[in-house]
């Protein structure tokens, strides 16, 4: 099929965009990692990486927290998904709302809230000490793993519960008819059917855990991971080593890419298309089983939403300077209104601008990828996987390296932050658009064509109304990611382009927890509003949040 002119333009534009915003920055990082301080080509950075005990430890630590967080997320997410899709749980909508809260809250406020509760001077710890119980602090590896598990379990929960509620009940009934016990049935029928979703959720959790910067930074206390090392090496006033930071970036990207490929390789055949003639039903459990199921989902849901609850409560506490007093007041919000209005404004304008770009360009590219399947578009689709495996910190370092000098100087501008968010979120929109388009059976448009509509009219009258809700919902999700983005902005910001997450991060480091809590609450309200709008357009479709 010949590409019409318009789509050729889109294709060229997409490649140009990827070239400037992705290949050049990434390539520069890659090259920089092979160049020493005086500009000579060298392998020294990689040799240093292998020789340095500290960096080796960071590498191992990254894997440890990544996989431990993944394990935790898989366990919590699967339990939650199974209980909520298969059993009648009182208040199940409330519980899944808790999961969504955990999902849309910025990662570092998780860390922050756990510090407030279980840190050195944490509320809960102090309380227990009065009874003579000396609880270990949350700092270090265990704290990071707990935060990761609770932060990332919604990925697993949402994907797996989607898959579970799509397992055709006839299949399970057939297995039952063949004499399989419930346990065998779960392992032999249900498990293989949800495995793709389970591993996709796990992959999301793993990649985010590896890339996460805020949590280990705030909770680590000497426990270093690759993301924190890269940041330190890049931004430290003393002993900074940008080329080493690029080396670590390259390793981080390779690591994520490796996991993506592994997951894809093992699941290359497992794609199931269920037809939903016979939907699964929810069983009413009795006695202790019922109690256990309720306890499990409420415990997971509440624990995951704790950061949200804590930051809202603490944002309302009376403070004197950075110190909390007893009683409640709106002082923290006052401080924001009078001192930090520009930060809020920055966040809003940056996010809105990047979302607009993402929606327009992402939808066009998505349509291109879905409809005009050629080698070229497949390559484009593949190239769009790259941002998915790029930790924010890497994008930050790459952009500041490339756009600092040369033909395009963007350092210190708002545009650089907008573009960094844009490129990271673009793949999701392309994916959702193209998969939404693929889900609309081609015969749908063909039917319109056979009834006398031109291909373009058929697209506009049939396909567009079917995908617009998805696009709007996708835009809201991009907005949530954009407004919560910390790690690349942290590298890219200057005083005048500071965003809410960056400010929260700095406030936590300064110990001004009240203002941090108030800013976090504002972020949460904005994210919550976006979720609400997304649900308005999609119905309550939680899976769409990923």
């Amino acid at each position: 099929m010949r590409l019409p002119g318009f789509w050729t333009l889109v294709l060229v534009f997409a490649w140009t965009l990827l070239f400037i915003l992705l290949f050049v920055p990434l390539g520069t990082v890659l090259i920089a990692s092979f160049i020493d301080k005086v500009g000579e080509p060298t392998l020294n950075n990689y040799i240093t990486f292998i020789e340095s005990a500290r960096l080796r430890r960071a590498f191992v630590n990254t894997l440890v927290v990544g996989f431990a967080g993944l394990g935790g997320a898989l366990v919590l997410g699967t339990i939650m998904a199974f209980c909520l899709t298969r059993f009648q749980i009182a208040g199940s909508r409330f519980v899944s709302m808790l999961a969504i809260l955990a999902l849309v809250s910025p990662p570092f406020i998780g860390a922050y809230s756990w510090i407030v509760l279980f840190g050195a001077g944490g509320v809960f710890r102090t309380f227990l000490r009065e009874f003579g119980i000396n609880m270990p602090t949350i700092y270090g590896v265990s704290g990071i793993v707990i935060v990761f598990s609770l932060k990332f379990y919604p990925f697993v929960y949402l994907l797996v519960s989607g898959a579970l509620s799509n397992v055709n009940r006839s299949l399970e009934e057939a297995a039952e008819g063949l004499g399989l016990t419930p346990w065998q049935r779960t392992m032999k029928i249900t498990f293989p059917l949800v495995l793709p979703a389970l591993s996709a959720g796990g992959l999301l959790a793993l990649i985010q855990a590896i890339a996460d910067f805020g949590t280990p930074r705030l909770l680590g206390r000497g426990f270093n991971v690759l993301a924190t090392e890269a940041f330190t090496l890049y931004s430290a006033e003393v002993g900074s080593n940008p080329s080493m930071a690029t080396t670590i970036s390259v390793i981080l990207v390779l690591l994520s890419m490796f996991f993506v490929l592994v997951q894809r390789f093992f699941l290359r055949r497992n794609v199931y298309h269920g037809n939903l003639i016979n939907k699964p039903i929810k069983i009413r459990l009795k006695g202790w089983k019922n109690l256990a199921a309720h306890l499990a989902v409420y415990a997971i849901g509440l624990a995951g939403a704790t950061p949200v609850i804590i930051s809202i409560i603490f944002s309302l506490r009376r403070t004197s300077g950075p110190v909390f007093q007893s009683g409640f007041a709106l002082q923290s919000y006052e401080r924001i209104i009078f001192g930090l209005g520009d930060v809020v404004r920055n966040s809003l304008t940056f996010s809105a601008s990047s979302v607009i770009l993402i929606v327009i360009i992402g939808t066009l590219i998505g349509a291109l990828v879905a409809r005009k399947t050629t080698l070229n578009t497949s390559l484009l689709d593949g190239a769009l996987m790259i941002p998915f495996v790029m930790p924010g910190i890497v994008i930050g370092i790459a952009y500041i390296t490339v756009f600092n000098t040369g033909p395009l100087v963007l350092t210190g501008t708002a545009l650089i932050i907008i573009l960094s968010i844009f490129i990271r979120r673009l793949p999701y929109t392309v994916r959702t658009t193209s998969s939404a388009l693929r889900q609309i059976a081609p015969s749908m448009e063909e039917a319109a064509i056979s009834l006398g509509y031109s291909p373009f009219q058929a697209f506009a009258k049939i396909t567009v109304p079917l995908i617009v809700p998805g696009i709007i919902a996708g835009a809201m999700l991009s907005f949530i990611t954009a407004i919560n983005e910390l790690s690349s902005s942290l590298v890219l910001y200057v005083g005048s382009t500071m965003t809410i997450p960056v400010r929260i991060y700095l406030l936590i480091l300064d110990g001004d927890l009240g203002t941090a809590a108030a800013l976090s609450s504002i972020l949460l309200i904005l994210s919550g509003a976006a979720v609400y709008i997304a649900f308005r357009f999609l119905g309550r479709n939680e899976q769409a949040l990923l």
């Binding site: 059976a441 015969s443 749908m444 063909e446 039917a447 319109a448 064509i449 056979s450 009834l451 006398g452 509509y453 031109s454 291909p455 009219q457 058929a458 049939i462 109304p465 079917l466």
Partner: protein
Amino acid sequence: MAYLTVRNATKLFGESVYALRDVSISVESGEFFTLLGPSGCGKTTLLRSIAGFHDLTSGDISVNGSDLGRIPPHKRDIGMVFQDYAVFPHLSVFDNVAFGLKPRKVPAHEIKKRVPEALESVHLTALAKRLPAAMSGGQQQRIGLARAMVINPQLLLMDEPLSNLDAKLRIELREEIRDIQRKVGIATIYVTHDQEEALAISDRICVMSEGHVEQIGTPEEIYGDPQTRFVANFVGTINQLKRCPKLEEVLGMLGLSEVDASAKNASWSVRPEALVLSELAQPASGGAVAEFSGTVQKYTYLGREAHLFLNTAFGEIVVHVANPARARKHDQGETVSVRLNRQALFGFDADGARITTGKAPREGTI
């Protein structure tokens, strides 16, 4: 001249999947033409090529003498009922059916008249206001049917439009389709893999297998005079006669020995209803008749007819007895004798092609 002609259509998917091989058909105007064949034989592919959704690898298609090749699908004015329904989920049933009338600039008051009529004919009037998303497969199928018929296209293509309906509704709707089609006089190509449906409804049937045409003919020709072993097997039931001395004898009695000898590896078969129990046979009306015997294995009474499963020298054979009430019930183990005449025997050569036996096959009965 034929209304629609498809000449030497070949469609290749990928490197080696021949969905169509050198298919040629022609459909007269007002004709009800059925494509019949097993799953995967290329029926959908042929329909989609006619509608313009597949480009043929080679061959051409013309309607009314003009080549369709360069006409884009939306200008072809060909109504299509899709195998997967393709009902628009965001439009109500009424709007789905009205959808094709809008680009045809049908005035609003006429839409208000024609759509309910179309819905009426597929028994969907009650659902007009509803969205089709949660409707059953059969209901969606009928929406698709109404939507394609309401536009009065110059050619109507239906891809198994009744496959998801229960038996009763299927028969009702197929008569409905046939009546409407006759009334409006649209040339129609109808796809099915249900042989009974094909026989009941078609002016002509095209039997396909593995991408090629096996035989084109009226239902009577397809059933009564199958040109290939495939057609004989696929349409109706057939008794394959095992080669044995008794077969030579029967062929001899019917004067077919020479024909048999001249075709290499010929095989012979006979329809169950062309076999007659000797006790019920009318006195032979001229023509050669052969007789053989068998023991009853099973007797199945079906009301209108009975099936008698016999063990014979040719292997297991079924005899259909019409009006069994007038005959005797046959017990297991009983020996019966069976007659057949020359016309009843279908001979096929090693390639499965019909062997001409020298006489018009449908002439005379026992």
